[in-house]
């Protein structure tokens, strides 16, 4: 069984991103970049399936600037067997990413595609579902548990109010939620080994896919700041303020 894992290079989750003063976007220059945390979880799950003997090959694919190869090296240091980088100058929207991934799926025929549920930069939570739609394949989003047996995946999903378990026929698309697993740190020897794993680079422009954005960014602004609050000295003072000043209890 072959598993494809799309991984995105994003601003590290610890960094509070600021808006550019001209209002055209977020200021990302010079910030620490990392693999999208949900994609680390997706890679971890794929690698575990390989370690269990369920999967035979794990392929990581990233779409973006040439520097996204660092993200692919991280995926390979975690245990992915090879990487595919599709280079683009702009950052494509989920629909375009899904269409580019569709081309790779056509070439590689993976039995399972595990994506992150959400990229923490655009917060779209869309690419996996869009890819599933384009491919006409079943989807299991927000996965907290995956079991593979008899050509199907049984997936527990985090839903409003609880957990749902569904069974989907492979080939299928799964998106990883936070509690699917705890991703490993790559060891130094594995980081060294990852440098020698195959990494293929494809120019997006050479693929028969229209990736022109459908959304034009009109402006990007900071949300309004909350006005500064006060510290209260005691429970009694807190209750008094909530009753008489804020009038919320």
């Amino acid at each position: 069984m072959k598993i494809l894992v799309p991984v995105k290079r994003v601003v590290d989750f610890n960094i509070k991103v600021r808006v550019k003063s001209d209002g055209t976007g977020a200021e990302t220059a010079g910030l620490k970049m990392s693999m999208n945390p949900f994609d680390e979880i997706a890679v971890e799950e794929a690698v575990r399936l390989k370690e269990k003997g369920v999967a035979t090959e794990v392929i990581a694919v990233s779409i973006g600037e040439p520097k996204a190869q660092d993200t692919l090296r991280t995926a390979m240091a975690m245990g992915a067997d090879r990487g595919i980088l599709i280079t683009t100058e702009t950052s494509p929207e989920p629909l375009a990413v899904a269409k580019l991934l569709q081309v790779i799926v056509g070439r590689e025929n993976p039995d399972l595609i595990i994506l992150g549920k959400q990229a923490i930069d655009d917060d779209m939570n869309a690419t996996g579902q869009m890819l599933a739609g384009l491919l006409g394949r079943p989807q299991a989003t927000f996965a907290s548990k995956i079991e593979i047996a008899d050509g199907r995946a049984e997936v527990s999903r985090e839903i409003d109010g609880g957990v749902e378990t569904i069974s989907i026929a492979l080939p299928a698309i799964v998106t990883a939620d936070l509690r699917l697993n705890e991703p490993r740190y790559a060891s130094l020897p594995n980081i060294m080994k990852a440098k020698k794993k195959p990494l293929e680079t494809i120019d997006a422009a050479s693929l028969p896919v229209d990736i022109k954005p459908r959304l034009t960014v009109v402006s990007v602004v900071e949300p309004s700041e909350r006005k500064p609050g006060v510290k209260v000295a005691s429970v009694a003072e807190l209750v008094e303020k909530l009753r008489n000043e804020a009038k919320v209890i």
């Binding site: 839903i159 569904i166 509690r179 959304l215 909350r226 804020a246």
Partner: protein, 307 residues
């Protein structure tokens, strides 16, 4: 032109988040709604004010909300509509991007403001920026952040109900089991007061014995940080944040929560925020209207008793 709003129901009632989606959609013309499920759900949908027609899809698969049949059904109905809208619930997030892809449209998730029929505002980077985007797609597929739109009332309308064909049976995807937590407390995403606990509670016992009595005294919903959920103090559906539930109650109490950006993303639009934390430097105090520095194991029982 017309809008199609995809509704969700629970126990024969239309979910409040879906009623917010109807409110957001009302800016785009005549409203038809699509509801999957039993007769009672269709009747409830017909009562929503401002709704012209209820498209009612009966059948088990559909009412279970599996993405594949429901997306196909929505796409089959899409021709007559310029906008297709749902709430940004777990179900909306699951289904609507699939619908958008089938229509060759870029989805616009988590809309917090409607500028005009092509232009929408949505948060990015965990809510640290608000992007206004203009769509060039012929149809717009949107999900609505319900905290940003006052819901329409549950009653007042009398729309016609039109039955839809049943979805074709398929074994590609099926439900194995559903575990939904039963709680007497108000729902997290619509409660007037939310009491949330973090890693500072140190265990599920404290969550139960210290935090919940406060919530019950206030008639509040209970929420949690990711750390509290990961540690098993609280179930996953209580997680508030960038990747959990988005809440904006009148009063939000953050107890033993440090205030990571991912947590703030889910609650910083609350009207009044109270932070209780023993670390005076915790970032949660930067967004709190009232901060109390102290040990929650002393403060919370005192607060519960004082109310």
């Amino acid at each position: 032109m017309a809008v199609l709003v995809i509704l969700e129901s629970e126990a024969g009632q239309i979910r409040q988040a879906s009623r917010s989606a109807v409110a957001a959609a009302s800016k785009h013309g005549e409203i038809d709604v699509l509801i999957a499920g039993d007769e009672a759900a269709a009747q409830a949908a017909a009562k929503l004010p401002g709704v012209r027609t209820v498209l009612h899809a009966p059948g088990k698969e559909i009412s279970e909300g599996l993405a594949e049949p429901l997306a196909s059904l929505i796409v089959a109905s899409a021709t007559a509509y310029d906008h297709i809208v749902s709430a940004s619930t777990a179900a909306g997030k699951n289904i609507m991007p699939r619908v958008a892809a089938l229509l060759d449209v870029q989805i616009i998730p988590d809309v917090v403001a409607v500028v005009d029929s092509d232009t929408f505002v949505r948060p990015i980077y965990a809510g640290n920026a608000l992007a206004t985007v203009c769509s060039s797609d012929a149809k717009k597929v949107l999900t609505i952040r319900s905290t940003a739109f006052e819901p329409v009332p549950a009653e007042g309308g009398s729309a016609a109900i039109v039955p839809m064909p049943a979805a074709p049976a398929s074994d590609a995807s099926r439900i194995v089991s559903v575990t939904v937590a039963q709680s007497e407390r108000p729902e997290l995403d619509t409660a007037r007061i939310v009491v949330s606990g973090g890693r500072g509670l140190k265990g599920s016992e404290a969550f139960h014995d210290v935090l919940e009595p406060l919530a019950d005294r206030l008639g509040a919903a209970v929420g949690a940080s990711r750390a509290a959920v990961d540690e098993g103090y609280a179930p996953n559906d209580l997680q508030v944040g960038q990747t959990g539930k988005i809440v904006a109650p009148e009063l939000y109490l953050a107890v033993g929560i440090s205030g990571a950006i991912q947590h703030l993303a889910g609650m910083k639009d609350s009207k009044i925020i109270v932070a209780i934390n023993k670390d005076a430097e915790a970032p949660i105090f930067q967004v709190a209207d009232y901060g109390l520095v102290g040990d929650l194991f002393e403060v919370i029982p005192q607060l519960t008793a004082a109310l």
